[in-house]
Amino acid sequence: MREGTSVTVRYLSLIALGYCAAILAVAAAVQFASAPALKTMQADAKRSHLATKSSILRDILDELVLDVRLLTRNPDIQNYTLGETKTSLRAEDAILANPRFRSVALFDYKGRPLLSIRDPETLNQADRYLPIEYVEGLNDWVSGARSPVPRISYRPGDALHSAHFLVSMPVQRAGITEGILTAETVVDLTNVLREEGDAPVTRIVTQFQLANQQEWAPFQAPPVAMEVPGTTFSLLADSDAQAIKTIGQSLIRKAILVAVAALAVPFGLMGVLGMQAIVDPHRALELSKAELSDKSRELARLAQIAQMANEGVVVTNVPGHILWTNAAFAKITGYTTQEALGKKLDDLLHGPDTDLAVGKRILCALERREPIQAEILYYRKNNTPCWIRLSISPMTTGQEEDVQFAAIVTDITEAKEARDELLAAREQARQQARHDPLTALPNRRALDDALDELAPKTEQPRVLIRVDLDHFKSVNDTLGHAAGDAVLCNVAEHLVNRTRGDDLAARVGGDEFVVLLAQGATLESARRLADRLGRDISSEMEIDGHACRIGASFGIASTQGGFISNKDLLKSADAALYLAKEAGRGATVLYSPQIHTSVLAKRTLTADIERGIANGEFLAWFQPQFDAQTNEIVGVEALARWQHPDHGILSPASFLPVAAQLRLIPDIDKAVFAYGLNKISAMNDAGTPIPRISFNVGAHQIMNQRLEETIKTWDLGKTEVTLEMLESVLVEDQGSGFLARLADLRLAGFRIEVDDFGSGHASVVGLRSMRPDGMKLDMSLVRPIDTSNTARELVKSMIDMGRALDITVTAEGVETATHAAILRELGCDTLQGYHLARPMPFEKLVTSAKVGFGSDALVSDPIASSAIAPLSRNLGDLERPRHRRTADKHPTPQR
């Protein structure tokens, strides 16, 4: 190495010496030849210099103007100028985002300051411009007398070659100026105004200064001036004689530099070629001597290691003939080195069950000179089989004809047997865990595994069919579980017959099946499959001599279209199946973007309802009910509302349909019930008792045996609790248990009323047998009474019927004064509706109870003689409630 380094250094030193000598010669020649041309160049250089400087200064100013223009066009700055005060911070941020300016000020259309942002480092510095200069030109811009081109003012800076610029631009909207934005900045013009060396001195002057510069400038020669386009100032250059020398020296230096560059090429070439031809071969010879010595030592060590190893080692040539083996090879195979030499390994160890394909693979790898690892069944010398792991690697010294192979031979007979046993056991357990024992179809776990294996996105869409049997429960109930199992097996058989090998048909629940179609299936093919399966399943079966017929509903989902992913297939098909069931069974529904949007929206609303129930957001509003003759309040009806944290008060129409589907109605009922009783109790305590509170209830609440206990939680004083039920509930649920329960509730002090009477299930016989305390006429009956005689007669007959059965009659939906007058005349007992009072929150109920339920309609109603009285009396003064079944039943009041 040292010898090689020494040769290189000597050689390169010689080249460098020659190069330097050549440069010195060229420099002397240039210096002598260039003197005469320098003077001519000086004059041209000055003019060119000023033009360049002017252009550079204009570019700098254009950048400033562009930045200011961008600010004036910033939407937040515009909006703030126009008075949207909430954008002030964003306007400030827009200004601060450009740190170029020393200060930026914004003024409105009258020149009043809106914003002023200054660089903190300049706060103690004096202002360069007068306040009037900041808004100069504003009135002309606002009036349109001046076009919206920027104004640029100049002041010299404190530092040498610095300049203060003030740029003013109008802030416009739709071409109308509504304010002005001014930006002040200091620009370091050292690079523009002055250069070291051959450039003349340059200054910025205003028009006023230019006109008077003859008196001021102590130059030896007249200066050269050039206006800066688009401004009111110019650039001025002096003509100092020193500039000539500066320009000449620069020229000579350039010529010398050119010569240096030109001579570098041949000398460099000489150096590179000389290195390749002389120095490099010398160094290579020295290196190869050292490598040869190292490799000899390494080979001796490797041979010793191979002999001592526990694994067998075989060295062969390219055709596969054995060249060398170690002692471990003999131990494993039974063949000594002498017995193995010259033979091929495969020929030596081959046996009847040896896998020819593996042998062939090994041979191919050897031919390609590639390493290979393989496990193969061979036979020892004594013909006993053994499993061998071969790890074969080529060995080469870099010469193509000098390739040999080294094989590590390991006996893995015992390990392989153990491994095979374990795999077999696992597979058996896996199969058992993944199949349904009754139908032998893949089970839910197998389906989940298949779905998990689907990549998050596949190139082809996947389709999944959800199958649910219709009327299966009746088979179990009527023919027994054995028959039910037979039906399920029959259905499984249909699924297997109709699906392809790549499809996955699984049983996932009692009577529920899923088919995951193979890649390439489309929605149309899935629909056809569903139709065929539907026909198969619904065909009549004979089970134990009994004819049996069931049906099936199908929900189909696909990732085609991209609005659901593979992981959503099952639940989307589930949602489609649900709709198929709702449509009346035996149907097939495809999950569509519309269903998907609806599902997402419903999920959001569902989560909100569940949260709302947990957080006590469901409460009651109260709608007063009034005596038809006296206009006194006789009670309130509690109506469910949802106090939503984001959307305020929501009416039942917005949440009840979804709540009903989720079976959350009972929880909502419970919350409304508790709220209503709590508030009425509070009104009693405050001395403004309400005679009666009504709740809308369903069958489940009636049958709740804890209802009486719940009421007792609050002290309601003399306030009655009325339970309003739809007439359809009372008609449908007239079992003996239900009627007995109603009787118990009456004995406990509850009133029972039929709600929406006349809405479709009107039954006089039902009323007569049930004998509720009151009935409420449906608003569809009340609404037309002011325009239809028939409607009026119908309502009258219902009121008369109530009178005959000693049932109080309440009219709902009283919307006008005319409604109220007619109902009063017809003898209705109680009125409820918007004309009298709307449903109101508890706070308003309290206020109205104190000051009166002042209704505009009633005030202006010529028939009503007084406003509705406030609740200022004790309940003891009120007419006693009309309980039937009590000993002191009151006679029907005179109307």
């Binding site: 949207e84 509504e178 949007t597 069958a699 919307e815 918007y834």
Partner: protein, 423 residues
């Protein structure tokens, strides 16, 4: 002789009193509106107020000063200041834009000067304070109801995937959140919701329209001013399957047929929100004809691009004059301008009787705003919202539809207890 003397006395009073009133009791009303960028609503409002004054049964003795705010909230604020400092100004009539008053609402309610709004629709304007602290009165569309109404109209027109585009200012953003609430309460979502800056250019609008198309919206509800809406409609009308457009009334800042050809407008089935003045023409024809006599240039409000401004300003102007008559009889009327303004405010809360207006009948149209009566300073309700379409000549035509009298509040648990979601 007594009768003769009485007759002469009455005649003298009739001659003298108006003169006394005119010389000692003249009041001023300011109009703060945009006469430059969107001049049609401003013209209509001014015409409505002047018509109300000239048609008042007794000499109103009201001077009207109209000032152009050029859609600049600071100019608007300066006008309010000028009115506040004018010792004869008893009220200000506002113009089209809501943001002007929204940014200064607190100051307006502390000013002690009634601000009467015949157009600005933003919900919070009339709900900025309670009781006698609230000085803002409105006879116009109320955005608290408008968004839900627009969404209902979209559904009534058969739309299944409504989208919304709104301008990026407090008015637009408020209406967008109300539209999202309207969808939510119906267990639905907007298929797309886009907010655009007022100065959005062709490319930005085109990208927004592409988003709407990709969402497969069959209806687009737009809340924006005239310029932006024109650009949006132009792009939507050129789509392969133009969605139906249901617009808030910001579009009435100009005449849309001057920007887009009629066939394009027809392709979108454009409907525009407003109040029911046009719809009530036949039912109240005598009132309309009487009012129209005072419309300038012998035109009809129905031929004006922004007729609602006339109807609202007329009705509000008449209510103002009724309140003014009452306030002039107040015991504190002669105790200075602050007392006069307060008397006017109290008179607004105590307008009894029924005034038959151009849009509806008003019975106690205003009452003190409280948490329980947030609509106290709203003279119109949801039932007064109506939709219009555009005729070939650019005039608005009413769209008549059946009104369902059943209120949503009437639905309650009773409807669902009979059918608790069985399988």
């Amino acid at each position: 002789m007594v009768r003769f003397s009485l007759k002469w006395l009455m005649l003298c009073l009739a001659l003298v009193l108006p003169g006394i009133a005119s010389s000692q009791d003249q009041v001023t009303v300011y109009i703060d509106a945009d006469y430059t960028l969107t001049q049609h609503p401003a013209e209509a409002i001014e015409a409505g107020l002047l018509a109300a004054i000239s048609s008042h049964p007794t000499p109103a003795n009201v001077r009207v000063v109209a000032i152009d705010n050029r859609a600049n909230a600071r100019r608007s604020n300066d006008t309010l200041d000028a009115a506040r400092n004018d010792p004869t100004a008893v009220a200000v009539f506002g113009g089209m834009h809501s943001p002007h008053y929204l940014v200064n609402l607190e100051q307006i309610n502390k000013s002690g000067l009634p601000l009467l709004l015949p157009w600005s629709a933003a919900g919070p304007l009339t709900r900025g304070a309670h009781g006698d602290q609230n000085w803002v009165f409105r006879l116009s569309v109320d955005d608290r109801k408008a968004a839900d109404h627009l969404y209902s109209v979209a559904l009534e027109r058969g739309c299944q995937r409504p989208a919304a585009i709104a301008v990026d200012n407090p008015w637009g953003r408020y209406n967008m959140s109300e539209l999202q609430k309207a969808a939510y309460t119906r267990a639905q979502v907007l298929s797309e919701a886009v907010v655009l800056h007022n100065t959005a250019g062709e490319r930005t609008v085109s990208d927004a329209v592409k988003r709407v198309a990709q969402a497969e919206a069959d209806c687009v509800i737009i809340v924006a001013g005239f310029e932006l809406i024109s650009t949006i409609i132009a792009h939507l009308a050129n789509a392969d399957a133009p969605p139906k457009i249901i617009s808030h009334w910001g579009i009435l800042g100009g005449r849309i047929t001057e920007r887009i050809d009629f066939d394009g407008i027809t392709a979108t089935g454009l409907e525009i929100l407003g109040t029911c003045g046009l719809h009530q023409y036949a039912a109240r024809v005598s009132h309309h004809i009487a009012a129209e006599r005072h419309f300038p240039d012998a035109l009809h409000p129905r031929e004006h691009p922004a007729p609602h401004g006339f109807y609202h300003a007329f009705d509000l102007g008449r209510l103002f004059l009724l309140a003014l008559d009452r306030a002039r009889l107040d015991a504190q009327w002669h105790q200075g301008i602050d007392a006069q303004r307060d008397a006017l405010r109290r008179a607004f809360h105590n307008l009894d009787g029924t005034y038959e207006g151009l849009i509806t009948n008003y019975q106690q149209p205003f009452q003190p705003v409280t948490p329980q009566t947030p609509d106290g300073h709203e003279a119109l309700g949801r039932e007064d919202l109506c939709m219009t379409r555009v005729a070939r000549n650019g005039n608005l035509k009413p769209v008549f539809e059946r009104r369902d009298p059943v209120q949503p509040d009437q639905l309650d648990l009773a409807q669902h207890h009979g059918n608790p979601g069985r399988d």
